[in-house]
């Protein structure tokens, strides 16, 4: 009897081990490529970790020195403001245009499915490709945008879109809006599709058509999807780096410097990994704050939907 029970217990333990073996590779990977970097960044942010560290391995602890240096740096204030402006500008633009397109493509007309899937293309291209193309479009002397604006007589002198600190941030935001539209269209369109047609039919009987049906039916019913789209947009936008590095490199004169690009610059251009880590920790805290709001909103959407 005991032998049998031990046998059964053994096979149960074996079964449990096999089950854990399924998650083990992923758990190890997440630990090494997310857990470790986060801890390492935290530790580095309290160390004098610079170029010499890579030679002599010494990285003395300096307390909050890196944070103090970061916060008192005038470029940090600039980067923080730019991150805010870049994020808000991008999100508002992407959302408004994305919602407009999603509502448009909701009507049934020939080829709408094909056109909708073509809209996805900007989202699928490597970001650095988009940066290269837009650099050429926004080029001062021969860029397509200035040629077009001059052609229709809207401007007489070419605008140095990416080369002037007055316009660079606006130009970068415009490009990021273009990049983000497909994502907004896809999610908002699928949200719109989930609203049953009968609700509109019933609403029409009560006199809710056109703008009124949009305000009183579409928007309230779309709200869970809207909050997910906006929060995910914020989470993705505050960490955008490729696009800005490719378009302006954070310049001119830090006009497009954000927390992400500044963190990159600190670590990999100035080789001050301590300050780079301090900056990216500030970025993590902001991103995680929005992530928690997102996960809550998502859970609520799942419960209601």
């Amino acid at each position: 009897m005991t032998a049998q029970r031990i046998d059964r217990r053994r096979s149960r333990r074996r079964d449990l081990m096999v089950r854990y073996a399924f998650v083990l590779p992923a758990a190890l990977y997440m630990l090494a490529f997310f857990g470790y970097p986060i801890v390492k960044n935290l530790v580095m942010s309290f160390q004098a970790y610079d170029f010499s560290t890579f030679f002599n391995g010494r990285a003395p602890f300096v307390g909050f020195e890196n944070y103090a240096a970061t916060l008192s740096d005038p470029i940090f204030v600039r980067a923080l403001t730019n991150t805010g402006l870049f994020t808000i500008g991008s999100i508002v633009g992407q959302f408004v245009l994305g919602l407009g397109l999603a509502l448009y493509f909701r009507r049934r007309f020939p080829l709408s499915g094909l056109l909708r899937s073509l809209l996805l293309l900007p989202w699928l291209l490597p970001m650095i490709v988009s940066a290269a193309v837009w650099r050429w479009i926004l080029e001062q002397d021969n860029g397509a945008l200035n040629r077009f604006l001059e052609g229709i007589g809207l401007i007489s002198d070419p605008i140095p879109w990416l080369n002037s600190s007055d316009t660079a941030l606006v130009a970068v935001i415009i490009v990021n809006i273009w990049l983000g539209i497909p994502f907004n269209v896809v999610l908002l369109y699928s949200g719109l599709q989930a609203i049953p047609e009968e609700i509109y039919e019933a609403g029409a009987l009560d006199g809710a058509t056109g703008a009124r049906s949009f305000a009183h039916l579409t928007l309230p019913l779309l709200r869970p999807v809207v909050s997910v789209v906006l929060l995910l947009g914020v989470i993705y936008t505050i960490k955008v780096l490729d696009l800005i590095i490719g378009l302006t490199g954070g310049g001119p004169a830090n006009a497009t410097q954000t927390l992400a690009t500044r963190s990159y610059e600190m670590s990999f251009v100035e080789f001050d990994f301590g300050q780079g880590a301090a900056l990216s920790n500030i970025l993590i805290v902001i991103a995680l704050a929005f992530s928690i709001v997102y996960l809550r909103a998502n859970a609520r959407a799942a419960k209601n939907g």
């Binding site: 056109l115 809209l119 193309v133 021969n142 490729d242 991103a287």
Partner: protein, 282 residues
């Protein structure tokens, strides 16, 4: 009878008329959105040099940009392809069993792991790059293909786990149980029952893991230093960084770097659309 149907026909005709009008406006909207893509192709066919004035239409296509792009960036394209395929395979091998376990096994710790996977997508890449550089340097993994594959999979793995888990949640447990009663072990049941049935979500996860790695710029920028191992995204960046930019070669490289996305969008439209919505709302 004709008096009865005439208004109906007329109304129907008017409706198809407005429908086609919607199509025309829709085409215009998409054309505006895709203008940059058109402009990339157009500029890639312009004659070499720093293209003083590209025409609005490529009436006289010149392929010298492509020959220069292939000569300069051919090696980098190949590096990108190897890294992207490697990262795609690694992502699937690691993510598929995990997604299955998260969806079907009741074991401790899965809730924590799922939370970690969800939040990991929100960690800025620069955080990973900062730390990986300090580890890769002493390990000699800077400028290495395996180093890039491992780093690039950091986008594919969480995404693949979430996409496949969402599918496997809906997967009836009875099928696996039946196989288990027939004497299949967990691994056998996973391999010959679960994987074939979840083919679609596997393809979606694979496509996006590939595209994430192919598009990666940050890891290429921070974890490579020389010219021997240089993904094409970084090649493109160093191209535009030079003072005397040859725009037709730059745009040819951009077109070549866009090919995987375009090809996958055309041949695997269904899977791409599934990934676009599946990654965000679960």
């Amino acid at each position: 009878m004709s008096t009865l149907t005439a208004p109906v026909v007329r109304r129907h005709r008017r409706r198809t008329g407005t429908a086609w009008l919607h199509t025309v406006v829709g085409i215009l909207l998409v054309a505006v959105m895709l203008f940059p893509v058109y402009w990339m192709v157009n500029a890639s066919l312009a004659p070499a040099g720093n293209s003083l004035n590209t025409g609005w239409l490529p009436l006289d296509p010149d392929f010298s940009g492509y020959s220069r792009a292939l000569a300069d960036q051919g090696q980098n394209l190949l590096t990108s392809l190897i890294v992207a395929i490697g990262a795609c395979l690694l992502s699937l091998v690691i993510a598929a069993p995990c997604a299955y376990a998260l969806a079907q096994f009741r074991i401790r710790g899965t809730a924590v792991l799922l939370f970690v996977v969800l939040t990991s997508q929100m960690i800025p890449g620069i955080v990973i790059a900062n730390a990986l550089y300090t580890v890769y340097t002493p390990l000699g993994m800077i400028n290495s293909i395996p180093g890039l594959i491992l780093a690039d999979a950091s986008q594919g793995i969480p995404f693949a786990i979430l996409i496949m888990r969402a599918y496997l949640e809906t997967f009836p447990t009875t099928i696996v149980e039946a196989a288990r009663i027939d004497g299949c072990g967990h691994l056998r049941a996973f391999w010959s029952v679960v994987l074939p049935v979840s083919r679609n979500s596997l393809i979606t996860a694979g496509i996006f893991s590939f595209l994430f790695a192919w598009s990666d710029f940050l890891m290429a920028l921070t974890l490579t230093t020389g010219e021997t191992i240089r993904p094409v995204t970084l090649g493109l960046y160093t191209y535009i960084g030079t003072n005397d930019t040859d725009w037709s070669a730059v745009m040819s490289t951009a077109v070549l770097s866009s090919l995987p996305a375009v090809i996958l969008m055309v041949i695997a439209q269904k899977y791409v659309a599934a990934g676009a919505t599946g990654g965000a709302v679960k």
